[in-house]
């Protein structure tokens, strides 16, 4: 049992200061912008909740939000089952384990704009391996700069390429921690492969899968660099996700007020959905 000791605060202080400096001050700046209008030259006008009202009645915002949810939903639906399936079929021991782990982790260690650029090059119809193959070998008319569906397929494929390994690593970590006796007992009890998965592997993977889903939700919901470099939000606005839209407002149009208001709403949505996920997935453990 942990002892009650207020000295704990003393240990946490450095973290607190550092994170507060990074989180609270910028957050206050954002709040400050969100209720004012600026014309440059440090001239600010009080606007109250105008920006929030404007944003929440605006079609552009809901479209971006809808695209964001679609993107996150799709990648979760693909990456989580795929990651579990790959983890299940990986060897449990032997020299191939580290080889698999290293190769699989590789995409996660590439700077995000390089990931975007790499996929851009990879999918170019004339000189990219994938683009060339699709257009000239399979005869599919593929050009993501023209076709919104192609653009969507490409950013989803890129994210699956980039991040499925995170789910694999986590699920694999859960799997290797299951003692052999569980599998032996299941064999003796006459359990089918599906039962072994349903009643042994899945419950044992649940804590790590919760982490995986949470991390994948947060990171995909905040994704910016890779799709921006890959498609720039286009063609048209078809792949303009929430964060791309936000940056367009803030830096492109220099609409600081609306951008700040949007940031806050954005953050609130992320927080709310994460909390819902977390509560739903850990609810059984509490009683």
């Amino acid at each position: 049992m942990k002892t009650v000791n207020q000295k704990g605060w003393f240990f946490v202080l450095p973290v607190l200061l550092l994170v507060a400096f990074n989180a609270l001050i910028p957050m206050m700046t954002v709040v400050n912008y969100s209720v004012q209008e600026t014309f440059g030259n440090n001239l600010f006008l009080w606007e109250g909740l105008t920006w929030f009202q404007q944003l929440l009645t605006e079609e552009r915002f809901y479209k971006a939000l809808g695209r964001q949810f679609m993107f996150t939903g799709l990648i979760l639906v693909i990456e989580v089952p795929l990651g579990i399936a790959i983890a299940l079929s990986m060897p449990r021991q032997g020299i191939w384990v580290p080889v698999c782990l290293i190769l699989m982790a590789l995409p996660m260690l590439i700077p995000w704009n390089v990931v975007g650029a790499m996929w851009n090059i990879f999918t170019l119809p004339d000189i990219g391996l994938l683009g060339y193959f699709l257009n000239n070998v399979l005869g599919i008319n593929y050009d993501m700069t023209q076709d919104p569906i192609a653009a969507w397929v490409t950013i989803i494929t890129m994210d699956v390429w980039h991040w499925t390994s995170l789910v694999v690593l986590l699920a694999y970590a859960g799997l290797v921690s299951i003692p052999d006796a569980y599998y032996q007992a299941a064999k003796i009890d006459g359990a089918s492969n599906w039962s072994v998965f349903r009643f042994i592997q899945l419950p044992k993977m649940k804590p790590v899968l919760t982490i995986a889903i949470l991390l994948r939700f947060m990171d995909s919901f905040n994704i910016y660099t890779e799709p921006f470099v890959l498609t720039g939000g286009g063609p048209g606005n078809s792949t303009t996700l929430l964060s791309i839209d936000l940056v367009k407002r803030a830096l492109g149009q220099f609409d600081l007020g609306p951008a700040a208001a949007m940031s806050l709403i954005y953050f609130a949505i992320t927080l709310l959905v994460s909390w819902l996920f977390y509560t739903l997935m850990t609810k059984d453990d509490l009683n």
């Binding site: 006796a181 009890d189 006459g190 089918s192």
Partner: protein, 361 residues
Amino acid sequence: MAKITLSNLRHSYYPNPSEPSDYALKEIDLDWNDGGAYALLGPSGCGKSTLLNIISGLLVPSEGRILFDDKDVTDLPPDRRNIAQVFQFPVIYDTMTVYDNLAFPLRNRGRDEVTVKTRVTAIAEMLELTDMLSQKAAGLSPDNKQKISMGRGLVREDVNVVMFDEPLTVIDPHLKWKLRSKLKELHQRIKATMIYVTHDQTEALTFADQVVVMQDGEVVQIGTPVELFERPAHTFVGHFIGSPGMNVLPCSLIDGQAYFTDHPVALEGAISGSPKGRTEIGIRPEFVTLAKSGLSATVSKVSDVGRHTVVECDAGGSKIRAIISGAGPEKGAPVFLNFQQNQTRLYVDGWIATHAQEAQS
């Protein structure tokens, strides 16, 4: 329920075993009778878990056959052998209730829910789990979890043998004896063949009717607890069972008479054959007495262990222990030791080489 026969069983974890030391199990021939309570006793790494996994079908032996009621099951997978196994750590299905845990092996075999309910209720009753049937299994204490693992084995009416692989390892000491007597009671009620693997002699001797002692992949003796104690077939059994273990003293043989140092020692009976090799005398501390005359020795250590005293003596460079009642002599005191003749045996290369004296009325 079935009689289990192991014939010429050998097993090696290496693909191409060449030397005897490559084998985890060396030549095992054993019969386990239907309905018996057996213990498989031996130190860690003696091959007892390997043997258990071969019987349950989790391992396929390198050589030899396994028969259940004279039917060859060597190549059958575990679920088709109708066996049950309880592991060292409780294996339960976390997400299921206690009821569903117990019902799992029956449902997997397609039994109807009426049968399932009757069996589960009966087994829960026996194991005192009735109150918990609707609870999630994950939240229970280790001893209850271990009871569930046992229950999953016992719930099947047709089970050939129930095997226990050191099942009390994670149980609190004060609950160990309780669970152990529960097991004994279950055996009497269910009359299934049970095999209990352990390295703890108390567990083995209290549970089993027959104890199989293993060492280095070999069976060294099979017998009732009393036989193992009184007539160890091998010095290892003498050492391993009893507290403290049997005294094993180097000796020489001249014209059929055994000598320890220069002191002649009377053996229990005739020596079988003409012994060649390392000869030793074995006598349990319980049968060594202090006397006015006999083998002279010096007391090196005296420990009071409650109801009796263990006196450790030094004689001719060998350590001899005696268990006596009452207070022992001082440390350093010269004493004379006597060996009770009908409990003094000769061992050649570790194996017993004297015949027991004919009972004389």
